[in-house]
Symmetry: C2
Subunit: 321 residues, 2 copies
């Protein structure tokens, strides 16, 4: 029997080249698997490769009676129903840390681009406004990094890399996470307290039911009129309607966003704003991180087909779903 | 006699508020001083406040027979003829280091924005291309910071801050400057050797006759097709025509520029390119650095009118013009 892997999310074909050399791939191109392949084909599937944010529940798992592992491309696995997988004895793997530097870097890029208004600045040059010495209120000087307080929400691998980068910019760095870590940054016991203190709120927390819409109108108000929000985690962590309102009425100064509530759809009210920098969920999208993530996927799939435990399982010993 | 200060370059009026409280300002608004004020008014001028890049030679100095000091707003003083000033016993002051963090931060902003193609990414979201799943060759993944080699040209205060920030991004950092410093980065004895090695060339050298057009077609070719140029120093350091050619024909991958050969004019061939990020010489343009630069200007002017040496002189002991 061939080692059949179903490609559950939409991935670029070029990205699948390395996997296609080792396994037989059934590519749904993001469409429902049962509409693309007959049930007898799906019956042979032993592994599913998915993007962590794509919903994958128990009913869908039941289409693959031989399924041994769901392997997520990237760090996140918030779309996978872990309880349903555990109940069916299906392992869930991911690529822990493989894209952490790449995601931390897009967080820094978005923060710097938003706070230094680089989109407006570039347009000011390209339009000829600078050459014509036209004044622009958007080009007024803003606070620099040494006078900013960066509050990092979530101190996993990505949060740590963001904090280390911000410290090199001579900014004050604080963080909020469930537990205090041995780190040289100010710890806040609540998100509210950190939001009161910081001028940039960096959302780097893992998405879950508990973090859904945690960054709400109250938190945004606390970040304040000089403050910025940067989100490289998941759109679900922020109440997107509240964010759009806060950006529109001046409750906060601006935002840099790589993730959205209903990707790839971004509200028109958001894309119309001049005080935001928007990227299309490209945080983990560098050559280095793709290679590292592919290495994790290959290691997970190889282990499965060799009958061994996944080396990059989302539920290591001690953790429960 | 009032403490008369001639404002030689064009500065925003709001920026001059603090100085106007202490001194009598004659504001040329960037026009030739002798066209705006009568000779007898200029005869009383004891200090000139200028932007370092604005040309100011001996003939101009001779219009101010009582001139005791030329005070530059910012770090640079490349527009001032230091020999002509010395021959006339005119001190030259500046604001050393006051804007170093702000300039280093715009260097990082331009590098990250250019290498992660944030302008293209933002447009991809705003245009609806992402929502429509349209492919874009510009959105292909690029090398991330941990696999980049950053070559810093010039190891003054700004260069050091750029290097420290890049190191926090897990990049390899090297530098070229006239002399080797006690720093944890690889030293290159020539710009050519560093250009061969690096994938991002950060131009942070002080502008002078010796550095004019030092970054030429040969250096750009050495940086190579995957390489980027970032310039936050002065436009004169780069052969701008060679840079536009290299960006257009793929000799290098892209650039982030805050300075240009003939500001505020930027060549149409440059503003038409998708692989550049352009800002209107806003490197030192943050609230923090303006306050710090104003403090230096006030200290220099106060010392002059008190008959004391400038605390922030461009020619401290041991250095000659």
């Amino acid at each position: 029997m061939a080692d059949k892997v179903l490609i559950y999310s939409r991935f670029p074909k070029t990205m699948m080249t390395r996997f296609a050399e080792a396994f037989e791939l059934l590519d749904t191109a993001g469409k429902p698997a049962h509409e693309v392949f007959p049930a007898e084909e799906l019956a042979g599937v032993r592994a599913v490769l998915t993007a962590g944010g794509t919903p994958l529940g128990g009913a869908e798992m039941d289409r693959f009676p031989k399924l041994g592992a769901i392997v997520c491309y990237g760090t996140g696995y918030d779309g996978v129903d872990l309880k349903a997988a555990a109940a069916r004895n299906i392992a869930v793997g991911h690529s822990p840390g493989a894209n952490a530097a790449s995601v931390a870097d897009i967080a820094m890029t978005l923060m710097l681009a938003a706070t230094r208004r680089i989109l407006v600045a570039d347009q000011y040059v390209r339009s000829g406004d600078w050459a014509a010495s036209r004044q622009s209120p958007m080009m007024r000087p803003q606070a620099g990094m040494p006078s900013r307080r960066i509050g990092v929400y979530g101190m996993g691998e990505i949060g740590r890399k963001i904090a280390a980068r911000c410290a090199a910019f001579e900014s004050e760095v604080g963080y909020f996470s469930r537990s205090r870590h041995d780190l040289p940054y100010q710890y806040f016991p609540t998100l509210e307290a950190m939001a009161d203190w910081c001028s940039v709120l960096m959302v780097a927390v893992r998405a879950s039911a508990e973090t859904n819409h945690v960054v709400n109108a109250d938190i945004l108000k606390r970040v304040g009129a000089d403050g910025f929000i940067v989100n490289i985690s998941r759109g679900s962590v922020i109440d997107e309607a509240a964010l759009v309102a806060a950006l529109t009425d001046g409750t906060i100064a601006g935002a840099g966003l790589d993730v959205y509530a209903r990707e790839p759809h971004v509200p028109d009210a958001l894309t119309a704003l001049p005080n935001v920098v928007l990227s299309p969920h490209i945080g983990g999208h560098t050559l280095d991180s793709h290679v590292a993530m592919q290495n994790c996927v290959l290691a997970n799939l190889t282990a499965l087909f060799d009958g061994k435990p996944l080396p990059h399982d989302v539920r290591p010993e001690g953790k429960t779903a």
